[in-house]
Symmetry: C2
Subunit: 217 residues, 2 copies
């Protein structure tokens, strides 16, 4: 997703690949954090930056082989990433810079996360295909967000498609946990699934923008 401010709103909606009980749990975990941040007068942008650094820590831990610990830290960082949007709404709406910072650091965090996964495989014995899978997942995730941002730049909304960011994070956390428990193939499979879904979504968005612009004139 381009902006996790919208992601937090998605938590309230539904009709997604993530089961609603996951969203309900996430909401109930988030509510007290949002209230505490409000009391401490922490700004949404501060929460965005803290969430970014937590994901960096997760990536480093994963790179050094701590898959289960990395999955846990990544989950914490990703939940925090939904707090900034809730906090922005609670304090009277986000700013243009807040939305820009949030989505830009989301991309950087995702890139650093896949680098951690690639570094983990580079430390192993046969890194080639897992690393290429991580590269495809990284590039595909970026393409999904970039196609949407560029569509917005020409005044269109292209928020369609499979595998928005919350779904991608749930997939990668599941893959990290399974690999941490000894089912190493699960993480590689997740990387290929994310790669395939994001490449398909990018193609879908290009096609969608083509249709929208060709009916306009």
């Amino acid at each position: 997703m381009s902006a996790s401010r919208e992601q937090a709103q998605d938590l309230a909606r539904g009709g997604s690949l993530v089961p609603s009980w996951v969203k309900d749990t996430a909401r109930s975990v988030l509510a007290p954090i949002v209230r505490m941040a409000l009391r401490l007068h922490i700004t949404p942008n501060t929460v965005t930056v803290i969430g970014f650094f937590i994901v960096i820590v997760a990536a480093v831990v994963i790179g050094f082989g701590g898959l289960l610990a990395g999955a846990l830290i990544l989950t914490a960082g990703s939940l925090l990433d939904a707090v900034d949007g809730a906090l922005a709404r609670a304090t009277g709406g986000g700013t243009a810079f807040g939305s820009f910072l949030d989505s830009t650091l989301d991309r950087a965090a995702e890139a650093i996360l896949y680098m951690g996964v690639a570094a983990f495989y580079l430390g192993g014995s046969s890194p080639t295909w897992p690393v290429i899978a991580a590269l495809v997942a990284l590039a595909g995730s970026f393409m999904v967000s970039y196609a949407r941002a560029r569509a917005e730049g020409i005044g269109l909304t292209a928020a369609i498609g499979l595998a928005p960011r919350p779904e991608r994070i749930v997939l990668i956390v599941a893959g990290l946990i399974l690999a941490g428990l000894g089912i190493g193939a699960a993480l590689v499979a997740v990387l290929w699934i994310i790669g395939a879904l994001t490449v398909a979504t990018t193609a879908q968005r290009i096609w969608y923008v083509w249709r929208l612009t060709s009916t306009q004139g």
Copy 2:
């Protein structure tokens, strides 16, 4: 850069890291291609897609170790990427979809190129640091473009910064040629330089958008 339609205009300007004789040569090579495409009624979007596939071929050749051949094919693909913009102007201006398609496929091509470079190192004996350098260069290049596209989404222009795409391509072609001639360290050095320049440019663009939005409100 976000749109090579603008890149082609950059060829006519100046004040860049690329020496003017390189631009003069590029212009004189491009002019007859543009005239031929006009006569054959080839659309700018067709040229964009052909250029994209040529870069894919270059990436595959590089991945299998053909660094010099890859550099040559990449140069041809990148020159063609400047033709679409010139062609669009010659046929009465580009379309919104053309600009969207061009910049989206530019990103995909750049990602596939770095994947080719990573695959080349994965086939070697000590891939870890070169592959991480390729990942940083890939992610950094994406971040530069994404930050600009998101800034445009909120109505700002953030086209500032070091290492726009033509410069990145010239750097990587130089690295490929030197590595192909036996100076392997040159390509790794180029990857780290691109990584450092693009990360710095992303930080610069975030700072720039912050300054612009904070003076507005």
